[in-house]
Amino acid sequence: MDKIMNFLDKHLMPIADKLNNNKYLTALREGFMLTLPLIIFGSIFVVISNLPYLDRILGENGLNQFKNLLGAASSSTLSIMTLFVVFGIGYSLCKYYKVEPIYGSAVSVAAFIILTPTFLQYGKTAKEVVDGVIPLDRLGAKGMFVGIITAFIASEIYRKVIQKNWTIKMPAGVPDAVSRSFSSLIPAFITLSVFLLVRIIFIFTPWGNIHDFIYKMIQAPLMSLGSSLGATLVAIFFTQLFWFFGLHGQIIINSVMDPIWRALSLENFQAYQAGAKHLPHIVNKQFIDTFTVGMGGTGMTLAVLIGIIIFARSKQLREISKVATPPGIFNVNEPVTFGLPIVLNPMVLIPWILAPMVVTAFTYFVMSIGLVPAPVGVDVPWTVPIFFSGILATNSIAGGILQLVNLLIVLVIWTPFIIMLDRKYSSAEKGAIGNKANNSLSK
């Protein structure tokens, strides 16, 4: 057992190190982080404008008017999320290379817009065309991957040109702001020319623009893979395995999966806004965070704490439940993972890996038969306690109830292991007291 543990630990650490500290994945994470306050703002107003029974209070016309009034909250944040991700990636990468990040951001956004088609097809056969507009969905879910790739490449070209010193230098005495905008002139010019060329080249391909090319060739296949139950179970298995070795599993796995899960969330959101009865994707960001591996803290440990409170008598477990329950309610659970401990504790490896996977399969099943609606794509901050987060994520009380059922499933799987641990700790504690007594007698 020790050999296997050492072997895995030795091989998991470098993976964690590479995935977390890779400059592109870091930029991606920071790009998404930038969007978070905006997305939560938009999400809150989507929840408000879809509160139950509003139609009875306001009437159908009143409700439509109400929705229109609040509509800008989400259309200026959630619907155009890719724009902010592009901005954030450009900023983060240029900061990493120590070149003016704000110009890097602006150039990345401009490059992305250059690649974006400025017409919209509509009508039943999509034959009607409006010119001179940027379709919102190109700045949302559909443009996510083009945006990410564009921001990476634009920032790279921009910083390389600067680092080659192909810049205009103003004489001393010129105000700083002026000289800075001149020094980014040539790098911006070269970067954007490259993207203009790409746009022109794609006009002569069957796709017409790079958006449709990337969507069909890269994004759509990755999304359909990422939304499958099998791939989700694999992702959750690795999240748990990393945590078992005391490494932050989500930070590592999500740095790869987030673009896919977030794009799936956005597509659900767009369908939801359009009034769809059945949302396209069961698996998405909120499915993972609020119903499976992140529910009640990584590895769903809130259920474990409840198990301890019900079944455990040993001092060590009681002590842990006291320290860990208050933060656990808000889905912060390092006290349990390191204090129980779960990390590197072979006695709990089975429930630790098994419980979230069973819950994932169960949640997927319940949502696919329509008993509980799929998450609508609004973002729920990860510190919202369970039951409430489930309701917010699905805009349905069924979401909250599902979380409680999931909690129960985890509790059932863990119970025998909690009892086993408790016996072990109890007897060790009794032994310790016995030894002390013997020692004091012998003195």
């Binding site: 650490m13 964690a16 190190d17 977390n20 500290n21 870091t26 994470r29 920071e30 982080m33 945590w243 005391g246 490494l247 932050h248 989500q250 930070i251 002590e319 842990i320 320290v323 933060p327 912060v332 659970n333 390092e334 006290p335 349990v336 993972t337 390191f338 204090g339 129980l340 401990p341 990390v343 510190t383």
Partner: protein, 101 residues
């Protein structure tokens, strides 16, 4: 004395900070202790004498070590058991020892 803690989002290290502040008060030590997320840690390091990393983010150490050397500050990973028990006293002692050595 400035003690900086860092983890993924500064949440769980935030729990530890509170316990450390209590422990520092008991001991009558005047120090600033705070927790940050990994995306701002490099900026915050400039104001710290010592950086402690949550064990779940221990792969940050290799990335931050050169920066720490450059700034002349000490850096280490918190022991998992101390972290799990939110043992403010033990973690404060660890920081003090690092500064004094």
């Amino acid at each position: 004395m400035n003690i900086l803690l860092a983890c993924a989002s500064g949440m769980s290290t935030g729990l530890v900070v509170k316990k450390m502040q209590e422990a520092a008060k008991e001991k009558g030590i005047d120090c600033k202790i705070w927790a940050v997320s990994q995306d701002v840690v490099e900026e915050e390091m400039k104001n710290a004498d010592v950086l402690l990393i949550g064990p779940q983010m221990r792969f940050l150490k290799s990335k931050l070590e050169s920066k720490a050397n450059e700034l002349g500050i000490k850096i280490d990973v918190i022991k998992p058991m101390d972290y799990g028990r939110c043992d403010g006293r033990a973690i404060l002692n660890m920081a003090l020892e690092m500064i004094n050595n």
